[in-house]
Symmetry: C2
Subunit: 366 residues, 2 copies
């Protein structure tokens, strides 16, 4: 078991927390909450893991003497909706939960974002724990306090910055993750290498086989290194004010547009991010920031890991629609197009005011 | 014009702001936002003041060269709903607003709480200005960053702490406020005297006639002193963690229960708070904390100002229902009943674990 401390300034209480990575951690969630003073918990779980991972967590809470209610949520991006958060809030009101109740999210990014926002806004803020059971949640979404839901008009348009009390990344849960889910999470792992750590990018290139075979040591290293990089960025720019945290959105402006245009759920988040990174690298090439070799090297790693670099032809997405969604992106500024773009492996910049024609070219460039 | 600075710790940016009180301030809102760097605004207005106060604000924004959209919201507590905040979010998405857009709330507590929560949660946080045009907003709800909406299960159950960039209290707007609205706001003014400032309580007793006649000097003093007291409390306990800010909830545990049980909108917030303070004082008497004289002195001031001390007989509220709502209150702790109670004029304490039978007695005590 390894523990990464995410340091945050806090007033009047310290908001720093631990990201715990390792094996067999689900059974320890009860003790973890107990040590934090929890007496009551509201456990929001992905219906797909209700009978497995969430049952282990619930048993651990019972053993620790923590009264709790389990609320299962249907799997999939469609649950990150106003309707679903409204149902959570109504249930929390019915149970008369107060600020002493701890919310526990058990699942992937959808559950963490949804439960995190419900916790952030019910009674103006309940403590929340992120028990991440997917790769994308363990390396990205469970860390850093971004919570939210989707609107018809765009992904994550409504939400809050709400840091968890702790993050639990039990590597064992990844062994049973469906292949498409596991692969999707690898897109964010590749992202960390490309934006921050050329050495880690090289390590990934050298360990594709081990990762795909889910060799425990390789998976553990990929998760730990990614989580540590994410924590470092969040520490230095918690609320995305200095531009540093924006680097984490590499591939996401294109990616969100594909996800939104294709309809939530038809592309997994990581698949959209992989396509987005491939498109962003092409845009960087069109701007003369990177060589064709960099584009090829990234494509190659993504493809070897089983990730796409272009949207499915059947998606039939119109360029105008994609451009319109990108102009509405939270990362856009006053309507101008803004992208996170690499200049070498391991480094990106936030680039402003990009010509829409180049963006259109990047959508189709091979 | 007077200005009260509300100091807050900030990282990485200073979150302190000014509460500006005075005459003719609406016409200056454009310059105020302009000096803060705003180029675009989303103006959420109470439909009742859309043609008057909000039109002055809109003209001021135009003069200052700030592009803006006005969104009118029906008057009344029913607008503090999930449905209405959903409509605001959808409109904000349609307009492709981003974090550089400033939200401006023009109206009373309902508009401020609703627009404040929409601002707090859209794109995980847009700056918001509170332009308060009712007494209750100028002395209380616009100051301190509490935002939120109601659920069927209780008032303000969903929301965020989200401090405004500034608060504008234009005393002129109170001249045309309907009598019932103005009177309702006086309940919060009396509250400040009772919880924090015996001298101010005495001043109110001596100036009932001037206040009811809306003498500008008397109204200005009542607003300024109340706003200053509120700001002082918020500075010292922004997120209600030390117990100090909880003092502001004097009368509100009973009050919220009456509001919820009667159905939002049949009792105005201040009316419910006045009844709540009268009931809380009786509970304090039953506990031996205060003399019958204190109860009588507070009753007398409330009644002279035109405020109620008992719910309307026609309301037919069941004690069990009121008790159940109070047990769900955010100020309750693990289901135990918790009240803010005076021990003298100018001082209150947070009292825990109160016998429900005494609470029932306080509901009916004359």
């Amino acid at each position: 078991m390894t523990s990464i401390r995410l340091h945050l300034p806090g007033d009047p209480t310290d908001r720093s927390y631990d990201i715990v990575c390792g094996n067999g951690l689900l059974a320890g969630v009860g003790d973890l909450l107990g040590r934090s003073g929890a007496r009551r918990a509201f456990v929001v779980v992905d219906a797909a893991v209700a009978g497995t991972h969430a049952a282990v967590v619930a048993e651990a809470l019972t053993k620790a003497g923590i009264e709790h209610t389990v609320f299962p949520v249907p799997s999939g991006e469609a649950s990150k909706s106003l309707d679903m958060v409204g149902r959570l809030w109504d249930e929390m009101a019915r149970l008369a939960l107060d600020r002493t109740t701890h919310v526990v999210a058990v699942g992937g990014g959808v559950i963490g974002d949804l439960a995190g926002f419900a916790a952030a806004s019910f009674a103006r803020g309940l403590p929340v724990w992120q028990v991440a059971t997917t790769l994308v949640a363990q390396v990205d979404s469970a860390i850093g306090g971004k919570t939210g839901i989707n609107l018809a008009g765009g992904k994550n348009l409504v939400g809050a910055f709400w840091q968890p009390r702790g993050v639990v990344a039990d590597i064992d849960t990844l062994a049973t993750l469906p292949t498409r889910e596991f692969t999707s999470g690898l897109a964010e792992v590749v992202k960390y290498g490309m934006i921050l750590d050329a050495e880690f990018f090289g390590w990934l290139e050298a360990h594709v086989e081990g990762i795909l075979a889910r060799e425990p040591a390789d998976v553990a290293h990929a998760v730990h290194r990614s989580a540590a990089l994410k924590a470092e960025v969040v520490e230095r720019d918690e609320r995305e004010t200095s531009g540093l945290r924006a680097a984490l959105n590499y591939g996401h402006t294109f990616g969100h547009a594909y996800e939104t245009a294709a309809g939530y759920g038809s592309l997994l988040h990581g698949e959209a991010v992989a396509i987005g990174m491939a498109r962003a690298a092409r845009l960087a090439r069109l701007l003369g920031r990177v060589s064709p070799e960099l584009v090829g090297r990234q494509d190659s790693l993504l493809l070897r890991l089983g990730l796409p670099t272009s949207p499915p032809e059947t998606a039939g997405l119109a360029d105008d629609q994609l451009l319109a969604i990108m102009a509405r992106d939270k990362k856009s500024l006053g309507g101008r197009l803004r992208f996170v773009l690499p200049d070498r492996v391991g480094h990106v910049d936030l680039v402003d005011g990009i010509d829409p024609d180049l963006v259109r070219q990047a959508l189709h460039s091979v």
